[in-house]
């Protein structure tokens, strides 16, 4: 367990498929401090103190997708959500979410609609695209992390949802599966 400003791996999520909905993860990657909450949804516990998410990494195990018809440029949107209602069927509230093209990495173009712009199994930091330019390829390194740390309250459930967007509107793509989300940050 880290202290104060140490960056830690806070946990992760796996999405079996991502398409035109802000989808909840299908499974979670626990860490020692925060196990997977055994509820009807997939989420991790924040722990006894708040935590700050500083990097949200995405990893694609499979970069091949089915050619959308019509083919459209597609961005990867995300939403960090928490729940504190203590319910067995938790209700989640968005803490920070991004859907606008200028805040998201582009992962698919209409010019090459069958393979993601990403390299398989390489982590990309979603925070580094926030406040950037629309249509920025996920493969284009963003040197400055632009999304500030996202605070998650103590003793809360948190999860990361993913969805596909074109110009800020949800869009469907078939075959985008096995997407991993790695959450890094600091416990306070």
């Amino acid at each position: 367990m880290g202290m104060f400003n140490d960056v830690e791996f806070l946990g992760g999520f796996i999405h079996d498929s991502v398409t035109n909905a802000l989808q909840e993860p299908d499974s979670a990657i626990p860490v020692l401090e925060a196990g997977v909450q055994p509820l009807t949804t997939i989420a991790l516990n924040s722990g006894p103190r708040p935590l700050y998410i500083t990097h949200l990494m995405v990893v694609f195990a499979d970069v091949a997708v089915t050619d959308p018809n019509p083919a459209v440029a597609t961005d990867l949107g995300w939403s960090i959500r928490t729940s504190t209602d203590g319910s067995a069927t938790p209700t989640y509230t968005e803490v920070v979410g991004k859907t606008a093209a200028a805040d998201l990495p582009q992962i698919l173009t209409d010019a090459a609609p069958t393979a993601l712009l990403a390299t398989a199994n390489i982590p990309y930091d979603l925070f580094s695209f926030v406040g950037g330019a629309a249509n920025t390829s996920i493969a284009t390194a963003q040197t400055n992390v632009k999304q500030g740390p996202v605070r998650i309250a103590a003793k809360a459930l948190f999860q990361v949802r993913l969805g596909l967007y074109t110009a800020g509107t949800l869009t469907a793509v078939t075959g985008l599966d096995n997407v991993g989300v790695l959450v890094y940050g600091k416990r306070v």
Partner: protein
């Protein structure tokens, strides 16, 4: 100085004349993400490995009729796991804890279910928990990190007589940069 964290833990089976990768990942950044089995991610800014521990969970194996040590090497991949670069390899007899002492006919430095601090044997070290004879290993950002172990002696892998040197837990400590 950052506080040490457990960066990775895995179980290694069937240690023989090859560098072994984890058969089971217990804890690690990215565990369960497809195609990263056996590895952990170094994190958005990289990480530093400060210690490697072994925990022998099974010390029943066929007599190798030779001194055998447990060596380790640290590798990383920046291309999604397609190819790996070796950063450090420690396999000289004087740098590693012994798992079979042939002259004594016992397990040398290894005790069942007891952690061995591998770094503390480096440079003719004698183990223990206070002295660290091996320096920090600095890993680049956003790469797969793979810690491999193997039965070694005199900087060579040992061909064990049977595939029954198994159930070795390896714990990797250090910290993420940031």
């Amino acid at each position: 100085m950052a506080q040490p964290q457990l960066l990775f833990a895995g179980t290694y089976d069937n240690l023989d004349n090859a560098w072994a990768v984890p058969a089971t990942v217990l804890v690690g950044s990215g565990t369960g993400v497809a195609a990263t089995t056996g590895c952990f991610f170094s994190g958005p800014l990289g990480c530093v490995i400060t210690d490697i521990y072994y925990i022998p969970r099974d010390l029943t194996f066929t007599d190798p009729n030779a001194d055998v040590y447990i060596g380790w090497r640290v590798r990383y991949s920046a291309d999604g796991g397609a190819s790996f670069t070796t950063m450090d390899t420690v396999w000289a007899s004087a740098d590693c804890p012994m798992v079979w002492d042939d002259s004594e006919g016992d397990y040398g430095d290894s005790v069942l279910d007891t952690p061995l601090r591998a770094h503390a044997w480096y440079g003719a070290g004698v183990g223990g928990l206070t002295d660290n004879f091996y320096g920090d290993i600095v890993i680049p950002a956003n790469v797969h990190v793979l810690v491999e172990v193997g039965p070694v002696a005199a900087s060579a892998l040992i061909d064990m007589p049977a595939a029954d040197l198994d159930s070795l837990d390896v714990l990797v400590y250090g910290y993420l940069k940031g």
